[in-house]
């Protein structure tokens, strides 16, 4: 009997190569004769390009070529698209100024690539890049998000620097609710801008083969097929069948490796043009300048309540920073991944949200862990926490009064929640956090001269964006299904191919557990293959915590097809009928008999079809499925953060952090807890430490690990995590997705705890010691 591993913390199959230093990341790949690319980047945030003089650089030792944005445009390459068309209130499409692969006529953010130097060594290319002289006609940069509409117009086609002005929900009903409310809680906030900082920098090794005209790109991507599609359909680099994109081991993504960027595209073009393999690996400073950033919203909101604290209406107005260009999925983030989430866990009857997407002379902003949902959760959970205080209700009580308790539930902002039990998570979280004992702990802390505070956050998330038809109607430029293939080998071991991509999530283990359990074979007999367009059919990759709910569901369907065919073969071999064959635990049995065949025997028979129903059935045993989800999944949870603050220094210590999540059915609890830990660290990083800052000329001030404060081991506490379970009702696994939850739920819990500790109503992230200290001086209760 094969051990059933669903729900077990199976140790990860992929770990062995990583702990022995045998992982293969893009920069570890070297191709014979490869050259090295180094980018000349704009030193200014906004300028016309008058001239690019490459003569000295071209003649520098070890330089093979210097290629400019002008040459790239003259070669007929297209621009980088944004894949989601968002409409403004008046029905017009978003304004999308062309996003050149490398700048030819003008630069719009500091760090934008202008030229690439290709050298025999990295050092030769880097040294020569210093010799490229770009003559800029500098203009004043537009940096301040609040005043973009009054600033210089950056693009002819974008008046007021607003790409779109989008709305969702019932405006009249919401304003009526606000006008007639017993109390309205209002809040203005900035959701701080973040830089993703996967520890592996982006990299590309492009290898054009002049003999076959095939281009192979090894790159740090979360979704290699999407890269291939965009390279073909929009950039025009090569036809899809001549392009192979491989994402080998990838060192973290968090969204930042979804997008199709300038550098990977330019390196591929340069390889094709020069007919040689070229490697580019970002230095960290380039990651800071040119990886897509996250968040950066200015928001004002109003929550209307009756005498009892029941929510009547919610109005939200947000301005979202897009940076200089619309990155690959940027437009969807502050709209369909944000506005639609504003119901949270609450039955607010009317909601109206309007979002302006603004251009500034800063790096493009796109999805970063959570993408829109952390912004929604932060706003809502701050608002609710303040509302509780203003209504004299406990933070738990105001939430419980408003929780959605009946499912399915149609929100006023387009989503239909399938299932959840918000009271259960909150109850469990309060119990684990010993909420009732807080008063004593606070009193004890006071004796030590510390201010202690506690905060709650109850988040909702929508994962596995779907279904494709609905998304398409809303402007999505791609399908949102996933593919999965199971190839049973003649000896009964199995190769699983998935269009999802793992860059730390542990798919090689979780998917192996899933397939092994479905087919009744040992986990060791299942090999998971991903991340290579040359090996598998189209796949959509990994984003939005979708891999198990969507990619896993495709594999579940493929496994069903394997079993169906296996039963036909088994029926033939045992002279029975398909309907009389049961499949359980890796054995096909004739019902009410002692006849049986193992999975391995059936696999062998399929490939050595000597005794086989060849007139009805093809030999072989391999099945594919493309799964298009019927709905989003809706993970949810309740987080409790407890902090202690030193009033003399403003320093915040998180003394306890409790996270209770409902991810539906869980396949590997160890991996799921790990995902939560990582998300919490990023959320707490946003709340306490991380902040991307540009000066008013558009220079990035936080361009290294010295200036951008990453969470380190001693900034974080041990986390207390647990799960409650309401299985997703519409996918075959019952899973909801766990990758982003921690980053979504934690920032408001932290800020709620700090404001509780120091007795201020509002405090912007990151709550640095300086900000907290000032807040205490200016307004805190003593």
């Amino acid at each position: 009997m094969t051990e059933q591993t669903i729900g077990q913390s199976v140790l990860r199959k992929e770990d062995m190569r990583f702990i022995t230093g045998k992982g293969q990341y893009t920069d570890d790949i070297n191709i014979r004769g490869q050259a090295y690319g180094y980018f000349v980047r704009s030193t200014v945030a906004r300028a016309g390009i008058v001239n690019v003089d490459v003569s000295e650089a071209e003649n520098a030792p070890g330089v093979i070529a210097v290629l400019t944005g002008r040459q790239l445009a003259d070669d007929g390459l297209g621009t980088l698209p944004c894949g989601w068309l968002v409409l403004s209130k008046d029905g017009s499409g978003m304004k999308q100024p062309p996003h050149p692969v490398m700048a030819a006529d003008a630069v719009n953010y500091a760090g934008e690539p202008v030229a690439i130097v290709v050298g025999e060594s990295f050092q030769a290319a880097k040294d020569a890049a210093e010799l490229v002289v770009v003559d800029y006609d500098e203009k004043s940069a537009v940096v301040d998000l609040a005043t973009v509409q009054d600033a210089d117009q950056l693009y002819d086609e974008v008046p007021g620097n607003i790409s779109y002005d989008w709305e969702l929900g019932d405006k009249d009903a919401t304003f009526t609710a606000i006008d007639n409310a017993h109390h309205v809680t209002r809040l203005t906030l900035h959701n701080n801008r973040l830089i993703p900082n996967a520890v592996e920098p982006r990299a590309a090794v492009a290898d054009f083969n002049p003999a076959t005209e095939e281009l192979t790109l090894y790159t740090t991507s979360q979704n290699p097929h999407v890269v291939r599609l965009i390279f073909t359909a929009f950039v025009g680099l090569a036809p899809e069948h001549k392009l192979r994109v491989v994402a080998p081991d990838v060192g973290g993504g968090f969204g930042s490796k979804i997008f199709v960027y300038s550098e990977e595209t330019a390196v591929s073009w340069a390889s094709r043009r020069l007919g040689i393999p070229i490697k580019w690996t970002a230095e960290r400073s380039e990651s800071f300048l040119a990886d897509a950033h996250g968040r950066d919203h200015l928001t004002e909101a109003a929550l209307a309540m009756d005498e009892e604290g029941n929510f009547l209406g919610l109005y939200v107005k947000t301005r979202a920073n897009m940076g200089a260009y619309l990155s690959t999925f940027a437009s969807s983030v502050p709209t369909y991944l944000y506005g639609t989430l504003l119901a949270g866990q609450y039955k607010t009857p009317s909601i109206y949200v309007e979002v302006e997407a603004a251009f500034t002379n800063t790096a493009p902003v796109d999805a970063y862990r959570g993408a829109g949902r952390p912004e929604a959760s932060y706003l809502l959970e701050r608002l609710v926490e303040i509302a509780a205080g203003e209504m004299n209700l406990s933070p738990a009580e105001i939430r419980r009064r408003n929780f959605i308790t009946e499912f399915p539930y149609q929100t006023p902002v387009a989503l239909e929640y399938d299932t959840g039990d918000y009271n259960a998570s909150l109850t469990r979280a309060l119990e684990m956090a010993d909420w009732d004992g807080f008063a004593n702990r606070k009193a004890e802390a006071e004796l030590r001269g510390k201010k202690r505070g506690i905060g709650i956050s109850c988040y909702i998330e929508a994962c596995g964006i779907a279904p494709s038809q609905v998304a398409g109607a809303l402007g999505a430029g791609v399908g949102l299904w996933e593919s999965g293939e199971i190839r049973v080998n003649p000896t009964g071991s199995v190769t699983v191919l998935t269009g999802s991509h793992s860059h730390g999530q542990g798919h090689e283990t979780t998917f192996a557990q899933l397939v092994s359990s479905r087919l009744g074979i040992p986990v060791e007999d299942v090999e998971v293959v991903h991340g290579d367009t040359g090996k598998l059919d189209f796949g959509m990759g990994t984003y939005g915590s979708r891999s198990l709910a969507v990619g896993g569901s495709a594999l579940s369907r493929a496994a069903d097809k394997i079993v169906t065919k296996g039963r036909k073969i088994a029926a033939h071999l045992m002279e029975s009928t398909e309907d009389d064959i049961d499949f359980d635990d890796g054995e096909f049995r004739v019902r009410d008999s002692n006849l049986s065949k193992t999975f391995q025997e059936i696999a062998f028979a399929a490939y050595v079809p000597h005794n086989y129903p060849l007139d009805e059935l093809e030999p072989g045993l391999a099945e594919k499925a493309f799964y298009d989800p019927g709905n989003f999944t809706f993970p949810s949870g309740a987080y409790v953060c407890e902090v202690e603050i030193d009033p003399d220094t403003g320093e915040t210590e998180i003394v306890k952090f409790t996270a209770v999540d409902d991810f539906g059915n869980v396949i590997n609890p160890m991996i799921v807890a790990g995902q939560v830990h990582g998300g919490l660290a990023q959320g707490i990083g946003q709340a306490l430490l991380e902040n991307c800052v540009y000066d008013d000329t558009g220079q990035l001030l936080t361009g290294s690990y010295m200036d951008y404060c990453m969470p380190r081991a001693d900034d974080l506490p041990d986390f207390d995590v647990d799960t409650t379970v309401t299985p997703c009702t519409h996918n075959p696994i019952g899973a909801k997705g766990c990758g982003e939850a921690g980053a979504i739920g934690s920032p408001p819990a932290v800020i709620n705890a700090i404001t509780n500790a120091i007795g201020v109503r509002e405090l912007d992230m990151p709550a640095t010691p300086e900000r907290v200290w000032r807040a205490i001086q200016e307004g805190g209760r003593s």
Partner: protein
């Protein structure tokens, strides 16, 4: 850039290697010796992805010039254990799920071993402060701390430190 020749011991083997004079030790390891288990995650010596052992102590290999390694004894992630016989720190990272994408992992493991060897891994707080020079974006450090603590027990150093 002129080349220099460096003599050193890498993972127990004597090596003589030519490299450009401005190479760092991590360049030498990765580019010349193809020991790609040591990673590069930053350009300001702050992420710790490049941590190796240099004459028995953990150093960031991006801060050491290759020429400074003349005569040194360098151990990388490839030199501490193998698939068949893992170092206790390697096993602990796997058993505690102390890694996700694996990119910071070699550096973390090398830093963790040094921490234990120095007797600085006696409790959670000292492990956390001892790992301050290594950035992990995936794990939130929770399980890394557990891994180092469990390896410390396995390596027999914890008892000594406490005793």
């Amino acid at each position: 850039m002129a080349n220099i020749s460096v003599n050193l011991i890498v993972n127990g083997k004597a090596v003589t290697q030519e490299c450009p004079a401005n190479s760092t030790l991590v360049d030498l390891l990765r580019d010349q010796l193809q020991l790609t288990g040591t990673h590069v995650g930053c350009d300001t010596s702050q992420c710790g992805s490049c941590t190796v052992h240099f004459n028995g102590r953990a150093v960031k290999a991006c801060t050491v010039l290759a020429g400074q390694a003349e005569g040194a004894d360098v151990v990388t992630i490839e030199g501490i254990g193998s698939r068949e016989s893992l170092h206790p720190m390697q096993s602990a990272f796997r058993e505690c799920h102390g890694l996700q994408c694996g990119f910071c992992t070699p550096g973390m493991i090398m830093a963790g071993i040094d921490l234990v060897n120095r007797g600085d891994a006696s409790d959670e707080a000292s492990i956390r402060s001892g790992l301050e020079g290594n950035i992990c974006r995936c794990t939130g450090y929770h399980n890394i701390v557990k891994a180092v603590a469990s390896a410390a027990v396995e390596m027999g150093v914890k008892e000594e430190a406490e005793g």
